[in-house]
């Protein structure tokens, strides 16, 4: 199944990066949400795909059966999902506040920190 996953991961990355390069922060936000999916799926697939057998040790045995899914990428991805979500929420609020303050969601018009005609740095000491 890995090639199919690779295609989906590629598609996720393409869409997310395409959205990232937009000037509208709402699209950038959606790009960030998709990017986390892309990366999670990348890690998940790199740990190899197994069908339907969760990494849970069955009753009466002491070790995981060989047919079970690889638990390691799952552990990595699980925390990544939650952190990506908190980060997404932060970005969302940041964009929201920026829109309230600056009245625009176009990144080209957000020039408070880097004004268009910034004066040259002072030459004195």
């Amino acid at each position: 199944m890995e090639p199919v996953f690779a295609i989906l991961v590629g598609a996720l990355f393409t869409v997310s990066i395409y959205l990232f390069m937009s000037k509208h922060i709402i699209r950038v936000l959606m790009g960030a949400a998709i990017l986390s999916n892309a990366v999670n799926l990348l890690i998940f697939t790199a740990g190899r795909i197994t069908r339907e057998v969760p990494p849970i040790i069955g009753p009466g045995v002491d070790t995981l059966s060989a047919s079970a899914a690889n638990p390691l990428p799952q552990a990595l991805v699980l925390t990544a999902i939650v952190i990506a979500f908190s980060f997404f929420a932060f970005l969302l609020v940041l964009g929201y506040r920026a829109f309230q303050k600056l009245g625009t969601d176009n990144s080209d018009e957000m020039r408070v920190a880097e004004p268009v005609n910034e004066p040259a740095p002072p030459l004195g000491y």
Partner: protein, 139 residues
Amino acid sequence: MRTVIFRSIAPYLTSLMVLFSIFVLLRGHNLPGGGFIGGLIAASALAIYGIACGVAPVRRAIHFHPMAISAFGLFLGAGAGVLSVFASVPFMTGLWTYPTLFGVELALSSVLVFDIGVYLVVVGAIASIALALEERDRD
């Protein structure tokens, strides 16, 4: 979205979801579940309650500020790690004890305490974000 039906069932739905989240949390060590998932379920429950009945009732219902819950969770998680100091083992080593209560053997461990910490952090932080966003809705 504040229909009568939604408002009426929201408290029950929320209670059920919180109960379910605790169930998911506690069984997490042996079956699918755990602190992260449980925390997210509980946070969603609070968010639903907030959408249905307004944020103020939610804040009253959980009594503490969500970030305080989150901070307490982090404290608990770190504390579970520090516990291992008293057993002279490296930081974060799992410690287990099996007390028998009313004839039932319970498996208590520092790992469980840590997972509860994770649960509280996730509930607190995510609920705090969700509630804050819902609150801004009305100003």
